[in-house]
Subunit: 274 residues, 2 copies
């Protein structure tokens, strides 16, 4: 379990306090935090709790949402992302996960939205680098291209990331978002040291009515975790492996049971291939 | 309306007879047929009706489903696809749309499924070419990678198609499946004369619970039809433009109204850019 991290959203039924305690009780050494539950208790308190827990923070979710067209909204997004970078520092993680954002309401200019996302990353990269934080561009499954994430493949995320030093901008490799990408193994090899986070969960079918909740526990869907994990390991990736599952059934279960299942599946399908 | 084609599934509420009559009544000159309704009346009768209607047949949907692992199932798929090619000849169309098929039940070997699809296309290509039929590989939105279509991008479809003469194997360019692809305009340019069919419909959100029915009338969703159509037209594509919509609301409406709306949206969003 030395590299297994509980992404906080996997146990959305838990408060931050419960998630820290639950992760420790399960013998994990790492946790992935979200900004909203951190803000609920206050950054200082959260940082103290995290330090006391002895857990590593594998990443902070999430910055991004860069696709607005109006200058005011873009400046607000920049400011919010600088705040998120500062929160990373306070919480002791060097990874900020970036969700690019979708098409602005009514817009059909996907190329323009992608360009604005890339530009925002360029504006923020030095600020992140100076603080020892790496921005992790998260390419998202094309099902979300309209409403959540206009960066749709690892290839595309790398095209953006490679315009900046690897110490400033990397990519988040998430099995759920990328398992379908035709040349994903080559793109993972290309990513190399730019992989700042490896997130795992499964693509399940049928996709539920609320598409956001279509993530399954590893082994419940169609992803070939051994092959995917081997490709990530071959890059020399030595970081934590975050389990991030949005799923109504998982959220309805007891947090302890979710973490136990997650640890078992990880031990079976992921850890041996790292 | 000289190049507008009614794909039969857009008016699934209509029989073949009604669709032929409805398309003519609306002033269209082309129709895209499906094998099942053709089989219902018998191939010979269908061919006669089509000839009498004076409509072109822009394509026949659909061959494919190539991903089975067992030799018997693969041979059966080959035989069925040869039959579909023969049906194209009988119906007077030179395009067979291929839906690659999904992962076999329980399998997580996406690479293997893709390889088997490519191999099957290779086995069928000469048979098609000898009969004057072009196989149209339809890359499908990655939402369908597990259960319907393992070819997930135009780039990937072209990697397969280019292994064969353009007179035998091409690609189907469908706005719904491809609008998110990061370099889709370059891939369309690359496709050139291999574009055997241009199908239009919109990507709408929220994606409905039955994902197969998430296609919208042009203009109801997020696709930039002028830009997409310009890219297709720039290749010299001179074929028909099929409207193919799977949508419960569209199917619940009167067929005449659907065709009228479709013609209006086509005239507004597609035709001027051809």
């Amino acid at each position: 379990m030395a590299r297994l991290s509980l992404n906080q959203r996997t146990t959305a039924q838990w408060s931050l306090r419960e998630a820290l305690d639950g992760a420790r009780a399960a013998g994990l050494s790492s946790i992935g935090l979200w900004r909203e539950p951190v803000a609920e208790v206050g950054l200082e308190t959260a940082a103290q709790w995290v330090a006391d827990s002895g857990l590593r923070v594998s990443s902070l979710c999430r910055g991004g949402f860069f696709t607005a067209e109006e200058p005011d909204a873009r400046e607000a997004a920049d400011a919010d992302n600088r705040a998120a970078i500062d929160e990373c520092v306070a919480l002791g993680t060097d990874v900020l996960v970036l969700v690019p954002g979708g098409l602005p309401g009514g817009s059909k200019d996907l190329a323009g939205a992608r360009e604005r996302a890339a530009e925002a990353i360029g504006r923020l990269a030095p600020y992140a680098g100076e603080r020892g934080v790496r921005l992790g561009i998260e390419p998202m499954h094309p099902i979300f291209a309209a409403d959540r994430g206009v960066v749709s493949s690892l290839r595309q995320a790398l095209d953006i990331a490679e315009q900046h030093p690897a110490s400033q901008v990397g990519v988040v490799v998430d099995t759920y978002h990328l398992w379908w990408e035709p040349d994903v193994e080559q793109q993972i090899a290309r990513a190399g040291e730019r992989i700042v986070a490896y997130q795992v969960c499964d693509w399940i079918t049928p996709v539920p009515a609320d598409n956001l909740l279509g993530r399954g526990m590893m082994g419940d869907g169609h992803v070939d975790f051994p092959a995917f994990t081997r490709a990530v390991a071959a890059t020399g990736y030595a970081g934590d492996v975050e389990v991030e599952i949005f799923n109504a059934d998982v959220w309805a279960a007891a947090g302890e049971d979710v973490v136990a299942t997650m640890a078992r599946r990880y031990a079976e399908l992921v850890e041996p291939y790292l």
